[in-house]
């Protein structure tokens, strides 16, 4: 990775499923320390954009650089390595293993990447404590929805990613929990020096981002973010 590489840089991205063109010449840049929210109607291609950024699917045309490396030409193994090194992901329903303790869930990516267990558990504990989530002694399934989602944020931050992706991170939460999770999430780019790309339907959540983009007819259209409120 280049030292000051941009976490996410997309140029002229085309993506279609069968005859349906979802993304057409799409451009997007997420800078270090910046948060970007993408909104749009259902079926507009928001999920596909996330999947493309994760390297789970390939575009038909265009460039998709994560920390300076174009994902498009990489082999699956190289994509996986890049994803592991630079990308963190928060899912709509957390996607945590309900039977594990929160600290075990959060430490999991590091352990699966072959990191040593002591520093992994230490970092997981630190992250959970910072985000106000019970650390141990209670199964993840016993946590409230908001706690689970903050645990998911902690897990996404375990590998200190340059790019943090979030897929409807507050979609299943009540208002208080939503605000708490959004506080944590949108504070992250500033605190940790990463780029944040959030896909959401929630205007209140999107409004917290530095920039809000609407995905319409395959293009991203700039809207006023928090600076423009």
């Amino acid at each position: 990775m280049e030292p000051d590489a941009i976490p996410l840089s997309i140029r002229g991205l085309d993506y279609q499923i069968a005859d349906r063109k979802l993304l057409s010449g799409l451009d997007l840049t997420v800078h270090t320390g910046e948060s970007v929210a993408v909104m749009g109607p259902s079926g507009s291609g928001k999920s596909s954009l996330l999947s493309l950024a994760l390297g789970l699917i390939k575009p038909q045309a265009g460039q998709l650089r994560v920390c300076g490396t174009d994902l498009v030409g990489l082999s699956p193994a190289q994509v996986t390595r890049l994803r592991r090194q630079h990308i963190g992901m928060v899912f709509q329903f957390g996607e945590l293993l309900p039977e594990l303790m929160p600290i075990e869930n959060v430490a999991l990516p590091a352990l699966l990447s072959g990191k040593r267990k002591e520093p992994s558990y230490q970092q997981a504990r630190r992250l959970l404590e910072e985000l106000g989530v019970p650390v141990d002694g209670v199964a993840t399934a016993e946590l409230s929805g908001g706690e689970r989602q903050r645990a998911a944020v902690a897990r996404a931050l375990m590998e200190s990613p340059s790019l943090l992706l979030a897929d409807e991170p507050t979609g299943a939460l009540d208002e208080d929990s939503r605000n708490h999770v959004a506080d944590v999430l949108f504070a992250t780019p500033g605190q940790r020096g990463c780029g944040l790309l959030v896909v959401t339907h929630d205007r209140a959540v999107a409004a917290r981002a530095d920039r809000v983009l609407y995905l319409q007819h395959g293009h991203l259209v700039e809207s006023a973010g928090k600076d423009g409120r």
């Binding site: 994760l54 193994a77 709509q92 293993l97 594990l100 303790m101 999991l108 199964a139 016993e142 929805g145």
Partner: protein, 729 residues
Amino acid sequence: MIASRSLLWHMLRTGRAASRHGEGGRGRFLALLTATAVMVVAGASLVMAMATFDGREARGEARNPVMAAKGEQPKVLWSRYWENYQGRQFSVVVVEPLTDDAPLPPGLHRWPGPGESALSPALADGPRSEDFRHRYGKMAERIGDAGLATPGERLAYTRPSKTMLDSSYLDGIVGFGSPGPTFGDLRLIEPEQQQQLLMLLAALVLLPTAALAVAAARMGAQGQDHRTALLRALGADRAALAWMNIGAAGVPVVLGAAVGLVAVVPFLVWNVRLPWIDFTLAATDLRQAAGALAVAPIAALVVMLALVVLIHPRQELGSTRVRAGIGGRVRRLALSACPVFAILALVMGSLGGSGSAFGYLVAVIGVWATVPSVIGWGVSRLAPRMATSARKRGNTAGLIASRTLAAHPGVIVRLVAALVIAIGIIGQTQLISSLLSTRGGNPAVLRSGKTQSMALVQAADRARPSQQFRAALPEGARMVALGHSGQELNGGDGPRIIQAPCADLRALSLPCPRAGEQTAVPFGDLDRRLKTATYTYFGNTAATVRVGEPTKLDREDAWYVVFTPSDQPLDIPAVKTAARQALSTDANIKPMLEGSESFTLAYQSRWLPFLGAAGTIVLALAMVFAAFSEYLRFARSLAPLAALTGNSGMFRATAAWALGAPVAVAGALGLAVYAVLGQAVTGGPYGASLSGELCLVLLLIAAAAAAAITWLAGREAERSSHRWKPRAD
């Protein structure tokens, strides 16, 4: 009414659409189809068993002779005797029509001519070496199905030649179709054995089928559970939910019923021979029961849909709490009952006797039924400790697996239950088979050359002189005559008389006294084979040996021992043919160790491994479905993590811990329980014997099953992770 009907269709369509697009749809479809088809076949097998027993009884009575009353003119002379082939008895019926209008026995189209016979297909197509086609006279025709208890029955009608007509006693009869004691295979399988067979079918086939049905009903049912909970929350009543679930399961269940029906239909068209046990089902019997057989697919369809509708875990929409494992009360009951059953089995088994045998069986079934819960409980207790240990060691896969085990022990119980019950069925089948073999003799011994070097021939008082029989014996065969010498003064049996020319006596290592003299030979000095072959009729009496022609020595029966020197194989079929055609039509030929009715028990006991194997295959299917069902949940929760980390090895490792290890451990535990329970019925001359070979094979199968499940789950989870994508839209 219209509204409710439209709702019904709407719910059916909803269920159908959900099943097509739901997670694990293909697997669930296959599981429901297979389970329904198996249920049809299992239900049909019960009907078939009953129909076969009824058909046998009816045909048995139809061929029973109607004795001529006193003063009534008989139309046929009739008699029957037992013949033996490889330890299995069958009937040979001697007939002689006396009048032109003499009624034919069922299954015959014409009377055999003098010196001719009619044979059942099983005998007509028997081994050429047995020469059945000439043993009872030249075969003139095959007996039709109407004359046979079952199509595979061995039965012969023989009409003696003019010379042999008076060589045995014949009854005068006026026709056929008399109620009362029957003959042939029917005598070997008594009416109460119908109940026994039905019980065996219930234990070995229906029980595993029920396990398979439950496993299939629950396989991949998470999506269905979620939909049910959602609709319940929206106000759907039970009927609406039931119709939706029926819609989801309807197509595979209907197809399964059709497949089961297709599997049963050939049995209605052709006589089908069951593999291994040498039993042929009569299509005509099953056609009689076609109505009942038609119910089987309908019943299977109803039962399967009822299971799909009724078997649901209670689930509240939006619940965020992990639920405890299986139903607490049932599990507590099973946990307390298991040791009680085990102790009962050990006590009952060691008591002996038929009453305690039944108690042992009940206790053993109780152990096998409750031990899976004990294993599940043990796993759930051990799992938290395993998790702590795995976490300390940094074993990620072990950590995930043991936390999952602790939270969901019921899943493991389902997975393990199938394996444990399978081992139970196989183990108990082996024990019961070995018990019956010990008591019934081992059919394999009959085929060894050693047993076939001597035969005892018994003929009744009407038997013809022995010279022609002697001349008809195969080359190399020798013969001595035996006789009883009456009781001794002390009440014991007197010595047996052995009479033959010198050469034959010497061939039997007996002395050759001078003419008019006799020599006593103690029992202990007699030929080993002679002692064995004649023990039933002559006991351990000494012998008085004298030289002379081997003729009838007793007033009533004639006794001859036919043998070959130095344990050379004796052509038993040729001896039998010679006896039937030259000595007496009802001569009784008993090769050494053959002829005991108890061998029939050994043959009948082959039903146990046959049904046991069928049940085990069904259980193995249940295990596959249960494991696959568990896999679907397992793969779903790991997919996002795997996609992000790119660590596909975690699937194999986690599958090994979560699925493979419990299967392997359950296999070992199941075997241990089998070995412990077996102790109660092993040992002693008539005890069952545990099979070390079987233990090894079962262990290997359990290990292979564990490896296969691990591989399959790991591979499918990896594939599933490749398909996984974020779902914000």
